[in-house]
């Protein structure tokens, strides 16, 4: 019966999904200290296509805060292949790297996209790729090119091809959206008249777990992105919340109150095999798996105030991680396992901070009044979080060194609960 109801709700969600316009607009509000000057020459023939592929690449790179886009106008003839590049043109413009390429229509309607990344200083080829894509895949190809450039020049994988999920609230309607990392092409995947919260991507990128209050209580669902089919994972007596995926995408750590209090449990992604992870007299919640799956960070008030603790799964031992301040919550591991992002309260302000495991040093990354729900990009370089401006919920991103800041706003919507998806393989 409830399954039928769920199907109906989902069908309704699909039908009405076009209604809300929750497209995010990104604005860079602070720049990085080290900018790599890069020139991106419009690709040969790209003017015949509706989307400017090099403009998308340029926007991606500029948005990261690590690049300075050097004007490529006026170079004649415009180079499209490595052998066409006259390095003198680019050294004089102060570019350290230059990107050239071409788009060639194929007889089957697809497009051959070639691109080359050249080191101006060493006068050498850094990368060259050819993609054969449909016109609908031009945006995705641009993000992929930006990923290659980012990785070659910074040493870290790019995250321009990844997706983000977030909740938009418009009036009394809540929608879970999935969009490209630059906010484009938002797709509504669930829609409800009751609150939705805590979306999290399965590490394999196929599913999103979230909490819905549609049954007048918090219930955890897992939804397949490819089909839209969803399944109740935890609907025990009491509250069911704070889902966190294990690295192998087979299990979730969750917070349940079924046995009294809010406590941590492990449950299979299909809702079977629930087992208790820890026992305390206080609140235990907001689990987050270490990248190696061996330990969990979580929030607990077992010591009197909410602080972050680490549970080692092999032996059940628990260690307190945060000591500064009276309110440290919402821990999320950095992908390299060397530290974690969390929310700390300082007076009446809530801010995103980073703590290093080895040194225990804390760096506060944001300066908003109500910053919450951080989610770390899969390359560990950016943290997306929810903030508030003028009483309205917005999303913002900050680099994990605190230097680069972006703001993502959606017209006419409160946006919150961002979740960064995994790297696209």
């Amino acid at each position: 019966m409830t399954r039928i109801l769920c199907r109906l709700l989902l069908a309704l969600a699909v039908l009405t999904s076009g209604a809300a316009r929750a497209q995010l607009t990104i604005e860079i509000v602070g720049g990085g200290a080290t900018n790599i000057p890069i020139a991106i020459v419009p690709f040969a023939n790209e003017g015949t296509y509706p989307l400017s592929i090099t403009q998308i690449v340029g926007n991606d790179l500029a948005r990261s805060g690590l690049f300075k886009i050097v004007d490529a106008g006026g170079v004649n003839p415009r180079p499209a292949r490595p052998e066409d590049v006259r390095y003198g043109d680019w050294t004089s413009r102060g570019a350290d790297a230059v990107v050239v390429g071409s788009m060639t229509p194929l007889s089957d309607g697809r497009i051959e996209v070639r691109f080359y990344l050249l080191d101006v200083v060493k006068q050498s080829l850094l990368a060259g790729f050819t993609y054969v894509v449909t016109p609908a895949q031009v945006r995705a190809t641009a993000h992929r090119i930006a990923d290659v450039i980012y990785e070659k020049l910074t040493g870290s994988p790019g995250v321009f091809s990844t997706r983000i999920a977030y909740i938009a609230k418009q009036g009394s309607k809540y929608e879970l959206f999935v969009a490209e990392a630059d906010g484009f092409n938002p797709l509504s995947i669930v829609n409800s008249n009751e609150p939705l919260l805590s979306p999290v991507w399965s590490p394999d990128g196929t599913r999103i777990a979230y909490v819905s209050l549609e049954n007048k209580k918090p219930v955890i669902y897992v939804q397949m992105l490819a089909t839209g089919a969803r399944q109740v994972v935890a609907n025990f007596r009491g509250s069911n919340s704070a889902p966190a995926w294990a690295p192998d995408s087979s299990k979730l750590a969750v917070t349940l109150s079924k046995d009294g209090g809010s406590q941590l449990y492990l449950i299979n992604a299909d809702g079977s095999g629930v087992q208790r992870l820890a026992t305390s007299a206080g609140i235990d919640t907001e689990a987050n798996f270490a990248p190696d799956g061996r330990s969990i960070l979580f929030t607990s008030d077992r010591g009197g105030s909410p602080q972050i603790y680490r549970l080692t799964l092999a032996n059940g031992s628990v260690e307190r991680m945060t000591y500064e301040g009276s309110y440290n919550v919402s821990p999320r591991h950095l992908p390299d396992g060397k530290g974690f992002i969390f929310v700390r309260r300082d007076g009446n302000r809530f801010n995103i901070a980073l703590q290093d495991f080895a040194t225990r040093q804390v760096q506060v990354l944001t300066q908003g009044a109500l910053d919450e729900s951080p989610s770390v990009a899969p390359n560990g370089k950016l943290v997306i979080y929810a903030s508030e401006v003028g009483g309205r919920g917005i999303l913002a991103a900050v680099s994990s060194d605190g230097r680069v800041k972006q703001r993502l706003t959606a017209a006419a919507s409160d946006v919150r609960e961002p979740a960064w998806g995994p790297l696209v393989k």
Binding site: P195, L197, S198, V211, L213, K216, K217, P218, R237, G238, S239, S241, A242, T255, S257, G260, G261, S262, I283, T285, E286, T299, P306, Y327, V329, S330, V343, R345, N348, F350, L370, E372, S373, G391, E417
Partner: protein, 184 residues
């Protein structure tokens, strides 16, 4: 003042439509009782069902339902909390006792306690805090004779505020437990 007006309005509304089952307004904070609004008759204070499991009187609609009588403490459904507190204040004891006794004499009755917090802090941590508030109220109801199976405690965290403001006045109304009986 506003609350008083609202309470009076609810009482009038309830008196006006005593045969229809508008129970929504019964969940409002009726702090001030209106003695004139006794149209739905006196409460049947748990007479019939001691030791018998059967239909709760709460589901039989009509005149004698104490849950819908605005003059009964059972019509009070909200308990407010101080900042960062889970202690149920003394002023709520008569109301909680009435609910506990009602559950004791109506073993078929089921209720959900929905705990809530103000908007400050992590959404998930607030779910846990609201849960603790709901559990605190349940504990008292058990002392007054309710049984474990009759009460489900859940939390809305900061997701369903009564007031949307970002100030102390709104926060005060949002830190609360709400009692909802099954079938309402």
């Amino acid at each position: 003042m506003q609350r008083l007006l609202f309470g009076a309005l609810c009482a009038i509304l309830l008196a006006a439509c005593q045969t229809t089952s508008t129970t929504k307004d019964a969940g409002a904070p009726v702090e001030e009782r209106n003695p004139s609004a006794t149209g739905s008759g006196t409460a049947t204070t748990g007479t019939s069902t001691t030791g018998i499991t059967g239909n709760p009187t709460g589901s039989t609609g009509a005149g004698g339902n104490p849950l819908k009588d605005p003059s009964s403490p059972l019509s009070k459904r909200i308990v407010y909390f101080e900042f960062d507190s889970y202690v149920v204040k003394d002023e709520y004891k008569p109301m909680i006792e009435a609910h506990g006794r009602y559950l004791q004499s109506n073993r078929g009755a089921r209720m959900t306690i929905q705990g809530s917090t103000d908007e400050r802090g992590s959404r998930e941590y607030n779910i846990a805090l609201g849960q603790r508030r709901a559990d605190a109220l349940k504990k008292m109801l058990l002392l007054y004779g309710a049984t474990e199976i009759q009460i489900e405690t859940v939390s809305f965290g900061k997701e369903k505020p009564r007031r949307d403001g970002h100030d102390e006045a709104s926060w005060t109304e949002n830190r609360r437990d709400e009692i909802v009986f099954a079938g309402e």
